[in-house]
Symmetry: C2
Subunit: 454 residues, 2 copies
Amino acid sequence: MTYDLVVIGSGPGGFDCAVEAAGLGLSVALVEKDFLGGTCLNRGCIPTKLWLGATSAIEELHNQAKMKIATGEIHIDFAALQGRVQKHLTGTRKAMGMQLKKLGIDLVEGLGSLSGEGTVSIATADGEQKIEYKKLVVATGSKPIFFPGLEPDNDCVLDSDMFLSMETMPESLIVVGAGFIGLEMAQVAHRFGAKITVVDAMDRVAPLEDPEVSKALRSTFKRWKWDILLEKRVSGVRTVDGKALLTLESGEQITADKALVAVGRGPVTQDIGLEEAGITLQFNQIQVDEHFIAAPNIYAIGDANGQIQLAHAAAHQAHYVAAHAAGKIDTPYTSGPVPSVLYGAPEAMRVGAMENEAFLTDFDTCQTSRAQLAANPMAQAHAFTQGFVKVVWSGGKVVGITAVGHEVSRLTTAATMIIQQDWTAEDIHSIIFSHPSLDEALLMALKAERKDIQ
Amino acid sequence: MTYDLVVIGSGPGGFDCAVEAAGLGLSVALVEKDFLGGTCLNRGCIPTKLWLGATSAIEELHNQAKMKIATGEIHIDFAALQGRVQKHLTGTRKAMGMQLKKLGIDLVEGLGSLSGEGTVSIATADGEQKIEYKKLVVATGSKPIFFPGLEPDNDCVLDSDMFLSMETMPESLIVVGAGFIGLEMAQVAHRFGAKITVVDAMDRVAPLEDPEVSKALRSTFKRWKWDILLEKRVSGVRTVDGKALLTLESGEQITADKALVAVGRGPVTQDIGLEEAGITLQFNQIQVDEHFIAAPNIYAIGDANGQIQLAHAAAHQAHYVAAHAAGKIDTPYTSGPVPSVLYGAPEAMRVGAMENEAFLTDFDTCQTSRAQLAANPMAQAHAFTQGFVKVVWSGGKVVGITAVGHEVSRLTTAATMIIQQDWTAEDIHSIIFSHPSLDEALLMALKAERKDIQ
């Protein structure tokens, strides 16, 4: 049998693509070398959010205690938490497997690689299996990358996969890389009482965000007594005498129980026959056209094409590719604004353009308007009032929304819709925002006086 | 001097109306008999949310403890919390006062009443003061109402104002009236350890909501060991020997440290010369036309006109009336969907039509689609997975969204926009929902299979 569609990789991109294609009537096989759900479910977003959720009361209590309203203490049983995470993942994978069965999608477990036109070869537990496809979707995802000297040893030097598999939480932690992955995991360790050191080569934490967001986050982390070492290049980190020993290029050394290396992720595109099949890789990223086609009858979506390393971007691409493969759509893919969220307390949220983005200078009239969270009763209620919402305008339209502070992830979907819909000042009053709500900080920012971007 | 606009009442309707009118160039006076901000700020939504926020860690801890992940205890210093509430209210009122000053709005403190055409008479601390207006906005709000036998005595029988002013939290509480006000306050008392009894004449809690929401809320409250007495008529409640003694019509008696009577709120429209000025009252509600005009040159907005008892509805009406009074707009007012939110843990959220609403039978094709929160990783992370999101469709368009469960208030603004914009199935994929997020439960509900409403 030749499948209409074979999908390699069952992360948010691959799984959704298989499901949607089957829903459109295609015969589908899904190839997965490890666990259903891929990195996001098993070694990424989901376990991290389960950790953050389970420990969120600690931070709430801390904030109320600082206002002298609350006292008390909370102990989290890390082993129990890890057990709960595994139970959730197992349950979710089971539900996913049932969904595949219900839709008649064949799950083939093993490492898939391209072996000649129209054929995928899978190294299964029972030996090699070959399946034929009319169309193929490569959704192989990404994995942690390392610079020389920063390779994890799964002893005291960990990547994010290993960190999420720990049996005990360390009492001290060095995080190399101040991006969202490192910062979310550091927040969890901090809640368990770990002494945190963050090291980054850039001059700010969350270096991809608006510099004011970086500044606000750093100010909170400093209050938490984190050591934040910026503009520091790491020459190496290794396990020495049961501790992580990090050496900066300056020669300075830092030690902690564990080191988490979170300097980035790169596509999983090697040694699976991609280039032999006529696919072009650049920095390991699969090059695709405006239909996500990488070679005749072969699509690539999600982290594997390297365009946006976010689960929801992959899922949105999957939705398009399933329809395209089924012949339901032929116009080029348009993404619309893709939100990006740092969870925890505080949180950060961004969708659309940032004030500091250079391309803004191409626009006619760029302005910002903003609201501080200190004026918002919900931020006040949770005793965490630092932070703001900033709106970026261009030609009278909203082109970007950025926020940092208490639960600003709440603003994400509304902000995405506002940007997608090119809101102008006239649109602000078309919607009734509930009162009181954190969302009103977004309303305030939209209504606030605008200032030209210099 | 004759003011272009005089506003009586400085709640969310009156204050916003004064500010917006001044922004449009009108000369404005604002009359307030008590505190700036009215009920919502001083005796309603805001203090309640500060209570809920300050105690939220207790519920988070409780949920994680039930999963055997967390242990610990949290003590809230109620006196400190009340001090913090007062500090927040004072600060907010001060900021509002400064805003009035900056905009050149005259604040006149005292009870305002209409005294002859174009004149408001104010009973100030320094005696009677008269001011002249070209146009008047009556935004006098609402106050708790009582049935005979349920009058509060400010000893053990309290209305919501008195409840929010307590110096200690009672160890046991009877709440008469299972609407949002009673349920939010009962949740707070519960977190302080109070034994809760809820009594309502209706056959369900939150009787204005979708019956499935009522059922989900009741199930949670039952797990919390609340006594929920439904379809019970109260013949009276009074203070006896330092306790609240409630007598049902059946003769059964219930006692507790305090009783909170929260059976509804009614307009504040008596004894201020409204009818003498040609205004029509019906059930104390000021009757208005489609421009909120109650009599020549007199508008009425917010709770006083009794259309929707919600602060954000009042503020939206205020925005319209300010523009109408300034001659900027003459088309009839259109509200758009007005969201309604029960805060706490769990929360409930509703915007647009509910499945059970009779008028739906007028539509051609009414359907519902739904998603359970149990499948959502954020609900899982917070160990509170009961609840659902339900979408009501009519003629292929989204006309209502209802949810109950962990933090479903997060869905409010996006849900309001979806209904306001008449989303069809085609619109669902126009927006990228961030992953993971509670908002994805809304996405799942929108995408789910629809069932005809019987």
